[in-house]
Amino acid sequence: MEPTTNDLNMNLFDRALDRLCLTPIGLAGLILLLLLPFIPPFNQEYMLRWLIYCGFVAAMSVGFDFTAGYINIVNFGYMAVAGTGGYTSALLVINAGLSPWIAMLAGGVSSAVLGLIIGMISLRLRGIFAACLSWFFGLAVMGLAIKMVWLTRGPLGLRTPRLFETESNVPFYFLIIILVYLTYLICKWVVRSKMGLAFQAIAQNMDAARTSGINPIFYRVFNFTMSCAIAGVLGGFYAHFYGILTPDMMHTSKTVEILAVAYIGGRGSLWGGAVVAFPFIFLMEIVRSTLSHLPGLNLVIYALVLILVMIYYPGGFSYFYDTHIRQPKNRALRYFLNGREAKI
């Protein structure tokens, strides 16, 4: 990242925040999330499990939005890509005796290779065809995971060692919060660089972008590979947190869950999905567990919210935030919400 012009009139704290792609409210939110496991109702183990799942969905939705929001291709096999990473990682730990930490990265590499392949072969296709191709790819990978019983134990599920040798969920919670933030940070860095401009140019008008000297092949494949690599690492986390891995995690309905969160959060914002995931998924989990005599109610609400957002408020939460909350009159509040703004 090259220094921006407003670096000069910023103090050290503001500059650090800017580099870390955070606003003061973002930092406050992050600190709140880190303190959450010590605040009474959330310090119970089952609540922490839900929160970890929230974090997983949040991180996945950031990675998903990196493709869907910036080059306008919906990767409909996203969970299958994550599942590939998870299975690679789990199999490496079980069969090769690797440490889960290294295996997680290896899972990321394998997913990146998969993403490279999907990205390459979907190059010739327009929006919906590319989505279909990634969807079929996901279906095929899931089918393989179900049928290669000798390797993956199929629907019976693969037992995987956990990352930390404790019963407690707290370390996992901290890890996933760090992963959410890292995912966001890496994506944001890429998007802030010149590459982000190229992504947006490609998404808006491929021909115009090509005329301006942007090579769409490189940027599209790069974007796809990177978002799949993120999914792979997160899939590794999923595998080594739950301790059991079934082909079910690759199912299209799981991708739909990620997609819904990313879109409700607001496409093209990166942070929207991550912010929405925590309250939204958490509420869904509460609905699911308290109204367990009404199975599927949480998903009905889920789908209704998705439909309403898609029809009436396609900008999602981030658009709402930008238009209604972000520009208050009070200067202190404004600083809190936006950080130090560039002087014009």
Partner: protein, 342 residues
């Protein structure tokens, strides 16, 4: 003249549709000789059902440019309607084995499935697609696709919430001896399901080709402004198209209730398969969709026979990805352009 015809045929054989059709026929014949005629029968029954679902999907894509992800759920609605209509009828048949309902009761159930699908389609147009179309049509294909994803999740879980997740199936529609064709036994249900789907596909084709309404639908699919200029009521045509497409899925669900009992996610398999067909045959091509349906059915049956059950997602999706790579517009191409995404 005949010579000219010959050379025409030869040229056609060298194109992608000709080649793929010839290869499929050869493969079908070879597999039938190798494994027995039941394979062909299975293929024909599955293909007939797929043709119904895929035609509806093609219609949605070709005319309205909606890549329907929820099409399987209209299949589910059809099968659910047929189940709730047929259960009292079969109770009645038990008590009165000689009544006319023994023969015609199933038809009532299947007709109910058709109407149920059409009504569900009309409702979703009123509540979901209409509002989106009126609000904005930018990036229409992707937005409507995501919208149908939401509809799909909604319908699946409403089914689970209201009717429960258990299998709601019947033993069979028609009692009677199976028909024997060339040494393969086909139950009456399967034979009639195929007949029903064939009749409906033919009727649908005639409707689209010869009636004024069918022509209006095709006109809208080619040029929406031109259609409006000549006085076609677009809103009406859109509504009709969606109900027709959903009715086709519903009738497929209703007539196959004996094979696919109704449960929340019953629509997934027909949906995947119909998407394979649509990608294979190119968007918006109805005759291509029918041919493609039989090809996908053949692919599926052969995979089940020679590779094993459960591989029937892996092999077809791998093949279809290959087709997408080399021929993104599908085997039969498509000359019908979408309306809202230019």
């Amino acid at each position: 003249m005949s010579k000219n015809n010959m050379s025409d045929t030869l040229t056609w054989l060298k194109t992608a549709p000709g080649l793929s059709i010839v290869i499929s026929i050869v493969v079908a014949v070879a597999a039938t000789i190798d494994a027995g005629p039941y394979l062909l029968v299975n293929m024909v029954v599955t293909g007939g059902m797929l043709a119904l679902v895929a035609t509806g999907l093609t219609l949605m894509l070709g005319v309205l440019n909606i890549p329907m992800f929820a099409h399987g759920e209209y299949f589910m609605i059809g099968s659910l309607t047929a189940y709730y209509i047929f259960t009292p009828i079969s109770g009645f048949i038990m008590e009165h084995p000689d009544s006319w309902l023994v023969t015609f009761g199933p038809f009532i159930a299947i007709l109910g499935a058709l109407i149920g699908g059409a009504i569900a389609g009309a409702i979703s147009e009123k509540l979901v697609f209409g509002p989106l179309r009126r609000r904005s049509t930018d990036n229409w294909v992707m937005n409507s696709f995501l919208l149908t994803v939401g509809v799909s999740v909604l319908l699946v879980n409403l089914h689970q919430l209201i009717f429960g997740a258990d299998f709601k199936g019947i033993v069979g529609y028609w009692q009677g001896m199976p028909i024997s064709i060339a040494g393969a036994y086909i139950s009456l249900d399967r034979a009639l399901a195929f007949v029903i789907s064939a009749v409906i596909v033919v009727l649908f084709y005639l409707f689209m080709t010869y009636t004024r309404t069918g022509m209006a639908i095709r006109a809208v699919s080619q040029d929406i402004t031109g259609a409006e200029i000549v006085g076609i009521d677009i809103e009406k045509i859109v509504m009709l198209t969606i109900s027709l497409a959903c009715a086709l899925a519903g009738v497929a669900g209703g007539s196959l209730l004996f094979m696919y009992p109704s449960y929340p996610t019953v629509g997934l398999e027909p949906l995947y398969m119909a998407w394979f067909v649509v990608i294979l045959s190119g968007l918006g091509n109805i005759l291509g969709a029918v041919a493609g349906a039989f090809m996908v059915a053949l692919l599926k049956v052969i995979t089940m026979e020679y590779v094993g059950a459960g591989w029937d997602f892996v092999v077809p999706s791998a093949l279809i990805m290959l087709i997408l790579i080399f021929k993104p517009s599908g085997i039969f191409g498509s000359d019908v352009r979408g309306v809202l995404d230019k």
